[in-house]
Symmetry: C2
Subunit: 273 residues, 2 copies
């Protein structure tokens, strides 16, 4: 090997060493970057609680269950710590999933009933938060955490724009198709709300019911249970056989002449005794 070529070799070796050193440096920088990424990712993931029911949601679930099973009665407002839970429940999709399963049960039951040709096989459906929904109104009332305020609720009703609960509208139509007479029974005041309620139900597709019954002057002051019991008794007196009775309040489903079977739809936002 001549001296020149040896020097050349040394030069090449040194250049390679410099290149490799810079490569190592870059690799180390890369590892550091990846490690930082990993740490950031772990921290961001830790913020997502895989068991939300262990915190306030746990209380929210319990409270909602206790309300829906009628263990908590006569409550005036949703406990403030349930606000986020109820909001998520009403707007996050679970409410509709719950309604659907119940309506599936109702349809399963209804399909087993042999409907007579005499026109006296009846169903009773409640109106507010059964056929049509007040969720938009209750959103402004912190989903029931704020106390009921009739001065705000009445203008909402008078808009006549409560949207249908689509799954209950589907039930309504199927019951009528099957030949049942559907009675819509509500605690709304007949004198002030008959026209707008009729209009609202119509604009939401509730067409073909047998009768819409609002609270007349003669039932003023009665509890919801007693008022609705009296109406059902009158219907039975007319000869109707009440096969099913659907409402979001326990007061829709208690008292006399309840019908062969009652169905409780969820409503964690308010309680009517």
């Amino acid at each position: 090997m001549c001296r020149q070529s040896i020097y050349y070799y040394i030069c090449i070796s040194q250049r390679k060493m410099v290149l490799q050193r810079s490569m190592v440096q870059r690799v180390v920088e890369g590892i550091t970057f990846l490690f930082e990424l990993l740490v950031k990712f772990v921290l961001s993931v830790q913020k997502v609680d895989p068991h939300p029911e262990n915190k306030d949601d746990g209380y929210g679930l319990s409270w909602r269950l206790a309300v829906e099973t009628n263990n908590v009665r006569g409550w005036k407002t949703v406990p403030p710590k349930c606000y986020k839970h109820v909001e998520e429940y009403m707007t996050g999709g679970q409410y509709e999933v719950d309604l659907k399963l119940i309506v599936d049960q109702i349809l399963g039951y209804a399909s087993q009933i042999s409907v007579s040709s005499d026109g006296f096989d009846a169903w009773i459906l409640d109106v507010d938060d059964t056929c049509i929904s007040n969720i938009s109104y209750y959103k402004a009332m912190r989903f029931g955490c704020d106390p009921f305020d009739s001065s705000k609720f009445k203008p909402w009703i008078m808009k006549g724009m409560c949207p249908a609960n689509p799954v209950v509208l589907g039930l309504f139509n199927k019951l009528i198709e099957r030949g049942f007479k559907v009675f819509l029974l509500t605690g709304r005041d007949q004198a002030t709300h008959l026209k707008i309620t009729t209009h609202n139900l119509h604009n939401q597709g509730f067409i073909g019911y047998q009768r819409l019954i609002l609270r007349g002057a003669e039932y003023k002051g009665l509890s919801a249970v007693r008022y609705k019991s009296r109406i059902r008794k009158e219907l039975e007196g007319e000869g109707y056989r009440i096969w099913g009775n659907v409402g979001d309040q326990w007061s829709d489903l208690q008292g006399d002449c309840l019908g062969q079977r009652t169905f409780k739809l969820p409503n964690p936002m308010y309680c009517i005794s």
Copy 2:
């Protein structure tokens, strides 16, 4: 520079290069390892669903709500797709949180009752999955996804080792302290289960009740609703005033002489009609 030292330099350079090459190799291996770790971590994290209610858990929640509100009736087994949901519910803490809120409601109600000195103010508590728990047994039955099997359930009962529901034991003790007469009413068979049930309740701290009532031969073949109605009617016939009635089955809380108020404890594992 002499030839020897040049060769020495070349040797050193080559050794350094080999060392650096092996270093680069290790660094690359390190990066690969870290990258694999990152991928595994991302995949494992993706399995944790921050909104379990959006998937099968959503159905589990709906099904459980429909059961607890008595919208789903006469069911034989828990739907298989609810298995993980019910397991998580029964073992993950939410069941106890739910029980506690209901017992708080019961105590709130009981505290308003003025207990007479005549010794006839009564409460009725169910036994299985009210006072004492069968969760351990139902765990082996996939929390009710497997059909009920009396050939397995009876040996479990005969161990006499059903643990207390601590929160219901607390309620039991407080009711007795307040001066109520507590009746434990169960559908268990009197001929075969009286001794072991008495022993089990005693070893779990249920001491001081007024009477433990099992299903005698004269009530065989009756539905749970009719059997329990008859017993409650007999108690009222003896002069007892039933203030509260607590059970995990709707059949505990339906029929005649229900008491002033009923309380439904959760049970998503089985249904007794």
